[in-house]
Symmetry: C2
Subunit: 145 residues, 2 copies
DNA sequence: GCACTAATACTCGGATAAATGCTGTCCGAGTTATCATGG
DNA sequence: CCATGATAACTCGGACAGCATTTATCCGAGTATTAGTGC
């Protein structure tokens, strides 16, 4: 499993937004970048993708910024990854292309799919609320109910 | 989860070798390529990587070729993937680099690792012997030389 | 005090460019079985 | 029938080019808050 920098930045920003879920003011991009060390001009486009996916919402103008569009219990790392990397990516493009001619490729295509589903399920089980709670809580103690 | 063409080709070749485990003669690269539609000159380098990882063995010279170095029950798709893509790849390079400065990154790094471990475990549970059996079981029309 | 204007700070979104890795090819070298040839 | 050499087929391994994706950066435009100015 290899993550692109985009997904990593998106997750960092999303967790940062989840931590400030109580505040009425939207979070500015610069605020995230200065706290986490993320290139600002790059994060702009990433947040736009998260907005297009309905994960974050924004208010323009001065005193504008971003906030989560849904409660953090309903956002998983799998949502973020799919929002940024796009849903169109096939798991094993070469194998699926060869599948009609080769039974080996057919068998392998389903095997790759199984592993990919396991990975997606693992990512779907990690919610933003859990991650935000881990940031607040000290050590391994989870305060989130 | 996105697979590189190298890993896909390597898996196809490995299953093809597993299917012919009973034959005393080694399997030639051309034999795999003609049966499965894999570029030959590319597969050479892939098989060299599998050999370096101890997954396949080769005999040089005329009537040479490749065979599995271990019984197919002891080779998993995870072995093949790590042999080809290298073990040095970090799961989340950006996040781990930012971890010392950011608690958010630290929490995320472990979360990514959990998902990666789930994927690896899924791949490690799929053995070459299973895949070869699936090819035979459904009445494949491939001939043995 | 009020209306209006300018400045400011932020998001929006496309264009663009450097960097990196992936994909596949080419070529020469080394190794071994097979076959032809001569004794 | 046997020994020897030529030939062919195959693996070995690095070098390299073309292509696509990633990773940003830049710039102009839109939008809302805020400060300032004149009446």
């Amino acid at each position: 499993m290899r993550l692109s920098a985009k997904v990593e930045y998106a997750a960092i920003a999303a967790v940062e937004l989840a931590r400030r879920i109580g505040s009425p003011d939207p979070v500015r991009i610069r605020g995230i970048c200065e706290a986490q060390g993320v290139p600002a001009r790059f994060l702009v486009h990433i947040l736009l993708q998260l907005k297009a996916a309905g994960i974050v919402a924004s208010t323009r103008g001065a005193a504008g910024g971003y906030r989560l569009a849904r409660p953090p219990e309903e956002i998983t790392l799998d949502d973020i990854r799919r929002a940024v990397e796009g849903p169109g990516a096939l798991v094993a493009p070469v194998t699926t292309e060869l599948a009609p001619r080769s039974r080996v490729a057919t068998v392998l295509a389903t095997a790759w799919q199984e592993a990919s589903d396991a990975e997606s399920a693992a990512l779907a089980s990690i919610k933003l609320s859990d991650l935000a709670a881990r940031c607040r809580g000290a050590g391994d103690t989870m305060y989130y109910i």
